[in-house]
Symmetry: C2
Subunit: 473 residues, 2 copies
């Protein structure tokens, strides 16, 4: 176990892979590009899923389940959609012992199969809004894969709504973006860049795409979630129509929005450090690990009591009672696994009626009397949740720079990891040459836009908007 991690300042990717290995989060499956999510990694996903599901349902959305298999012809109906997804499709041509008359694709996303059903379910304005979500696996065949970030199959939730008016659809698009923002900031302790995507980066078939993006520990961007205003594009293709209050047939206005297991990659790359994973307490499968020191039965007995005392407070606590391993080995293992708080109890602590608490985020140690333990543990878990957010926000602020000219932009891309803020004219044709030359792409157009004052960093035209660029995962 206690092997060393790759130096993250020299090889961030190598470090990332090491953390996933050594923390026991996931590994590659036998079919290229697939991922096995191991129990510790899956326990994180279960906590993410439960909380995000609760927050999504609180907005009136209910869950359903649509099929894995989609007729190939469905994908081909919406022009931009098929162009966007065709290169990544996995196709079933043979099933039940014979070749299929029409090939079937495995869902890369479920707009088409869901909206075909919506066209049957929605008849009148009384059926709107229709607010559905599903938790499922999707498949996008990838050649270059990386665990959690890009795999051929991944787990996610995809919400799909239909509305009577354009305004309602836009409001829902922004509402779900805000649900994601609040969830990621409060729960994953990851500060975000929130805003609209450029045309070049929007979802295949959307009118407008909005995203939450985070800055990883190497300064690169990771898209953590997206919310799309689909306009009436899909409604027109799949005949999602309703009779309005005046008995006139109208096309519905639609939205879709999703968050995937990819966010676990974000947690690793934002909070991880030289000692491995560091988990925000809100998503830590083990929030407090108890490590008894020495083999005395009185210590073991008291450790078990403390475990029970913390359990009843709804703290996720684990007693590491393995006798064949040294405390040092265990300390290292739970550090790599990112457990927020370690509780040590040895013979001297027993005599002094105290425990030693060690914070994973800062390494700070403190002695705490048994009487104060419950309160202190709860207080520290809250503090660690906040301190991880603060640390990430400080890093983020230190790695946002501003470029006025394209020369400055190129110099910054070369010299300093992070996001670059520029003033941009909005000419989408500029994005491809910028990407080709610098590997940086447009991230988001933030909502808080200053009055357009300056010039475009790239072409000198009158500037329209503030935008962030970065290299991305």
């Amino acid at each position: 176990m206690a092997s060393r991690l790759t130096d993250r300042t020299k090889d961030f990717s190598g470090w990332y892979q090491d953390v996933i290995d050594q923390a026991g989060l996931a590994e590659h499956g036998p079919v290229k590009g697939t991922m096995i999510i191991k129990p510790y990694g899956y326990a994180i996903w279960e906590l993410i899923q439960a909380e995000l599901d609760r927050r999504i349902k609180a907005t009136g959305v209910v869950n359903a389940y649509f099929p894995l298999f989609i007729p190939k012809s469905f994908l081909e109906r919406e022009k931009e959609h098929v162009v966007g997804f065709s290169p990544e499709l996995a196709v079933v041509t043979h099933a039940g012992g014979q070749d299929l008359a029409e090939p079937v694709v495995i869902r890369p996303t479920s707009e088409t199969v869901m909206y075909d059903a919506y066209s049957r379910w929605i008849k009148s304005y009384r059926d709107l809004p229709l607010l559905l979500n599903q938790w499922c696996n999707v498949v996008r065949w990838e050649l270059r894969t990386r665990l959690f970030l890009r795999t051929s199959e991944f787990l996610w939730q995809e919400g799909h709504t239909a509305h009577a008016t354009e305004d309602d659809a836009q409001a829902r698009t922004i509402q779900m973006l805000e649900v994601y923002r609040a969830f990621v900031e409060d729960f994953l302790a990851i500060p975000l860049f929130v805003g609209q995507k450029t045309e070049a980066e929007k979802f295949a078939g959307a009118l407008r795409t909005y995203a939450i993006e985070a800055m990883m520990g190497d300064g690169k961007a990771l898209q953590m979630g997206t919310s799309h205003n689909l306009g009436q594009h899909f409604a027109k293709v799949f005949n999602v129509q309703f009779l309005d209050e005046k008995n006139t047939l109208q096309y519905a206005w639609q939205t879709s929005w999703g968050v995937s297991t990819r966010v676990i990659g974000g947690v690793i790359m934002v909070h991880g450090d030289d000692r491995g994973l560091a988990l925000p307490p809100n998503i830590a499968p083990i929030q407090v690990v108890i490590v008894p020191i020495g083999a005395e039965p009185t210590v073991a007995a008291r450790a078990a009591e403390i475990c029970d005392e913390l359990l009843v407070l709804n703290i996720r606590v684990h007693l590491d009672a393995r006798t064949e391993l040294t405390p040092g080995f265990k300390f290292n293992e739970w550090e790599v696994k990112g457990v927020p708080l370690r509780l040590e109890l040895g013979p001297k602590d027993l005599a002094a009626k105290q425990v030693v608490l060690v914070r994973r985020d800062s390494g700070e140690k403190q002695m705490v009397g048994w009487d104060a333990l419950a309160d202190t543990a709860q207080k520290l878990l809250k503090e660690i949740q906040q301190s991880l957010f603060d640390r990430a926000q400080k890093f983020q602020k230190e790695h946002i720079t501003t470029a006025v000219t394209y020369d400055e932009f190129k110099a910054l891309i070369e010299s300093k990891p992070g996001f670059i803020e520029v003033t941009w004219c909005g000419d989408e044709s500029e994005l491809e040459p910028i990407k080709a030359e610098t590997k940086a792409t447009s991230r988001v157009l933030p909502f808080d836009q200053p009055e357009p004052t300056g010039k475009c960093f790239y072409c000198d035209k009158a500037s329209k908007r503030k935008i962030y660029f970065a290299k991305q995962y």
Copy 2:
């Protein structure tokens, strides 16, 4: 909406399909054999999943996630397994824009892909037992499909454990069967037949298969869950080996066990009646529906208050405030949907400070004063849960018959729906002719076996065991 159901005494299948349609549980997807689980049906599955997950975890099992895609060669390694599943496989031959060098199958079950990982994860007896479960979709291509009962894709949990000894594996196999029995009887209110399957009916690759089986409203059998002792079959094929305490290399002993969305079909067919679905309160997404009578604002206001009062008791309550529909229409709709308890509140009730409660199971009505409402509602929900079980058990007992000879057996199969109990010699070669002639198959060999006294119902040889036969879904 308020359409009539097919007469279940004349056409049970037609009635089943009508209930699913009219209760809004599910419908067929566009690819043949697939199923869309609609929000109301999925809410039932979420309640089943949450409770079963809790009970599985209480036995020390943790969740993980393994890939949808399995190399075709993996399936082919275990001889019985490949023979069992080959006819039902869906195969991906084309992905990411090109033909695949090795075709990939979509998991019909995950023994092979999981045990390949187990062979890497398990090194020593200290790594055992390994107790994993996953919630996922699986695909078994079917030509004749029926919603919930047999679809090309379905949702389930599959548990997979590895143990150091044969005894441990057998104990786990029986333990999980008991988890299933308790869950289905307590939670789904369905009385069961529990026991071992014959060789003819066991899982492809198992040493022994145990099952819980239920009798549907037409007397036919539905397998509700299975638990397999896999012996060392898969361990030998996938090299799942460990060093025991004496440092000797041993093959692990394994089990697998699963329950699927099929159980929802069981709930429909056991509890449903001439008025539609009847849900046990434990899995009812709506336990109490409130229907205000008339349009008076004071009634609406009091109905909303009552809704809140029941909500805080953790009763799943829904206020049907739709103004465009008559109470009669609503009554019918919630009856078809199987809501256990209907609460009516009209102007007269308001004056009398009472509500009318109507039980879905018995149709029984009672006036209840507001003061007693909370207690009465909770009491009635418990009673309904029990009464559905009792009703199903009574039906079951009335539909178990005993046959001493094969002529009696054939006469019973023709004349009376239900299960037939016989004494059987255990000669597996007899099962195929019995099935061919009568369509009845061996269900389970119950655990409580009498001393072998009689003769085999089929061949007159000295009998070995008591066994149930029935036609099955």
